[in-house]
Structures are given as structure tokens and as C-alpha cells.
């Protein structure tokens, strides 16, 4: 697998797609840079939300520069979507498989997504009009591709923050609250069959 490949993102108005790049392996420096890019925009957006008494996103405090130290461990890989010189979304996966929990793939290897986040300027709740749309879709597609390359059949799993549950419920199976997860979040899994539905290749 090369270190990056082209992919396309959607702009909010019209049907146009713009060229972007999926970067397969980010360095610690990349994560620090992403944090430096994202933090001021996020803080400004939070200030506006606070002033207008609107709820904050649940991940408002995330700091990817702190997650960078996880890349010292052998088991983590971070990927990102880069467009117009900035990271538009980031995802960290565990390259050591977890066991599938869905009945149809019980015990089979599943790629686990440790973290996934959109850049603050791509969230309507923070930015009003997003700069790019579909960053999460591209990251899920990358996770599926990685899972397939690992021999995990494209299967992926993750714990969703409550505000994101409806999004993941569209494509993955909600396996309920997970007592093992430190924050008691719901666990979602996408089977090989659901992958085919997600990408519409049957």
C-alpha cells in the first residue's frame, strides 16, 4: 500500500467533488499540526455556541497532539484526509484485530477504530456551513479498505459518542451499551455484508 492515494470530497453547494488525499500513515508531527490547525477554529466555534446557549459537541476537548503518543505503541495507525493543505478528518485504528461480536461474524477478526473526528470547519454545528462534506464516509471507506488488506474481510467496529449514534446506525449494527468501554458507550459493528451495502457493490 502506498503512503497516500487520491480521494474526493464533496462541497456543500452543488454536486462538485474536489480532489483530496487519503494519507495512510500519519506521524506524530502530523497530529500536532492538525491540533494546531483545528484548536483555534474549535475554540472560536465553542465561544459562539456558549454565547448563543447552544450545546457543545461531546468531543470538544479532544486533542490529537495528546493522542500522538499512542503512535509510540506498535498497535496503532493514524490516517487522515488532506485537502487544501489541511487535515479535514483524522482516524486512529488498532491494527491488532478485535473479535467480532455480531452473530454473523462472532469471533472473526474486526478492525477497531479507536478515534475518528471531522475537522471543526466541516461540522455544521460548529461552522454553520461546512467546508467539505463526506469526510467521515471517506474515513470509514479507508478503514474498510485497511481491514480488507489485513485479511479482516472489511469488518470494522467502533464505539460511538452519543451525538454520533444515529450516523453509525445508518450503516452499522448497534450492539448496545458496552460495559467494557470506560465511558459506557454503544458499540457498533459493520459486517462484510454491510460493507457491500455501504459501498453499494453487491
Amino acid at each position: 500500500m502506498t503512503s497516500r492515494r487520491s480521494c474526493r470530497l464533496k462541497v456543500p453547494d452543488g454536486n462538485d467533488l474536489v480532489e483530496a488525499e487519503l494519507v495512510y500513515e500519519l506521524s506524530k508531527d502530523d497530529l500536532v499540526q492538525a491540533h494546531l490547525d483545528w484548536a483555534p477554529v474549535r475554540l472560536e466555534a465553542l465561544r459562539r455556541l456558549h454565547e448563543s446557549h447552544r450545546p457543545w459537541p461531546e468531543h470538544w476537548h479532544w486533542d490529537w497532539s495528546k493522542k500522538a503518543q499512542m503512535l509510540d505503541l506498535l498497535a496503532y495507525r493514524c490516517m487522515g484526509i488532506e485537502c487544501e493543505g489541511h487535515f479535514q478528518g483524522l482516524m486512529m485504528v488498532s491494527t491488532l484485530a478485535v473479535k467480532g461480536r455480531l452473530a454473523s461474524q462472532l469471533g472473526k477478526p474486526v478492525l477497531y477504530i479507536e478515534f475518528l473526528e471531522n475537522a471543526p470547519w466541516n461540522l455544521r454545528s460548529l461552522a454553520g456551513k461546512p467546508q467539505f462534506i463526506g469526510v467521515g464516509i471517506r474515513l470509514l471507506e479507508a478503514a474498510i479498505e485497511f481491514s480488507d488488506n489485513e485479511g479482516f474481510g472489511g469488518r470494522i467496529g467502533l464505539h460511538s459518542l452519543p451525538q454520533s449514534e444515529n450516523y453509525y446506525r445508518k450503516y452499522m449494527t448497534d450492539l448496545g451499551l458496552d460495559a467494557k468501554q470506560s465511558q459506557g458507550l454503544r458499540y457498533f459493528e459493520m459486517s462484510t455484508e454491510q460493507v457491500l451495502h455501504f459501498i453499494e457493490r453487491r
Binding site: M1, R8, L17, L96, A97, I113, N118, S125, G134, Y167
Partner: protein, 169 residues
């Protein structure tokens, strides 16, 4: 699976479905700090890289021989669940029979693998050092690149030349 990327048309549709959604996902605690078992082992730092070297060695060697997890589990006559746990959980100590089966099918020396897997102890400092070095150089990725293959080959060479005086646990 044939093609895992979506067409532009499907992407446009999915992107519209995403518009306005939060997409944040958060994981379990980082490796080595997520289980009580791990906390117990925190007092024994030297064992972590050795156990991690074992997990990674099995994973790398399997991939170097171009075997899927299912292939290896079937050939070695071990449960896929157990193989998955071996590669996933550095704190898991497999049964000696499993280690024997893996050693035979991955063409690795049994005594050394028993040490790395935590089934027996050894005071062989060179083996420990090689395991720590291997763990530090390794990264679990989809295909082994040159550097990772070199790290694997170097570690396997050290394993093979070691004479391990072991003590069963």
C-alpha cells in the same frame, strides 16, 4: 471482497447522508492500560515487551508466510478465537500445546517460543534483549515492508541460535 471503494455517485449520496451529522468515535483505553491484568503486569515492565514481541512475532511470521488467521488456525488445529487473542492481547498466555502447534507451523523454535509466550521462564538476557529490540522496531501493518521483514528475520535468527535453559511455570 472485490472492490471496496465506492463510486462517485454513491459517495455523493453517502456524503449528503452525513451532512449535519456528528461522526466522532472514541476507543477503549490504550493498549497496556485497559485491563486489570495489564495493571498487574505494570509492576513487571520487562515482561510487557517480551509478551508483545510474542504477539507481534506470531502476527508477522504468519503474514510473512502469507497465511490468513483462518489458514493458520486450520493448519495448526487451534481455535481461531485463540489465535485472534494471541495476536490481539499481549497479556494472554496460550496453552503450551497451542505454542507447540504454532511453532511447528510457523517454523519457529519451540523452547524459545515457550519463553516468549510466558509459559516458561528463562534468564537468557540475549533473548530478552532481542525481544525488546524487536518489539520496539515492530509495527503491525497490513503487509511487511523491508524494514519490518529485516526486524523479523533478525529476531528469528536470534531465536534459533539461542540455547534456552528454561523452567516450567
Amino acid at each position: 471482497m472485490k472492490a471496496i471503494r465506492m463510486s462517485d455517485e454513491v459517495f455523493r449520496k453517502r456524503a449528503m447522508e452525513e451532512d449535519g451529522c456528528m461522526i466522532s468515535a472514541i476507543g477503549l483505553e490504550p493498549l497496556f492500560t485497559k485491563s486489570e491484568e495489564t495493571s498487574r503486569h505494570a509492576a513487571e515492565p520487562a515482561k510487557e515487551p517480551i509478551r508483545f514481541a510474542f504477539s507481534t512475532l506470531i502476527s508477522y511470521r504468519r503474514r510473512a508466510l502469507r497465511l490468513t488467521m483462518e489458514d493458520l488456525a486450520e493448519k495448526a488445529r487451534i481455535e481461531l478465537d485463540e489465535l485472534l487473542r494471541i495476536e490481539e492481547d499481549a497479556n494472554y498466555i496460550p496453552e503450551p500445546r497451542t505454542v507447540h502447534q504454532l511453532a511447528n507451523h510457523l517454523k519457529l523454535p519451540i523452547p524459545q517460543l515457550l519463553v516468549l509466550s510466558g509459559n516458561v521462564t528463562s534468564a537468557n538476557a540475549e533473548l530478552t534483549e532481542a525481544a525488546v529490540r524487536f518489539a520496539a522496531r515492530s509495527r503491525a501493518v497490513e503487509k511487511l515492508n523491508r524494514e519490518q521483514s529485516d526486524a523479523l528475520n533478525e529476531f528469528v535468527k536470534v531465536l534459533i541460535k539461542q540455547k534456552v535453559e528454561t523452567e516450567k511455570k
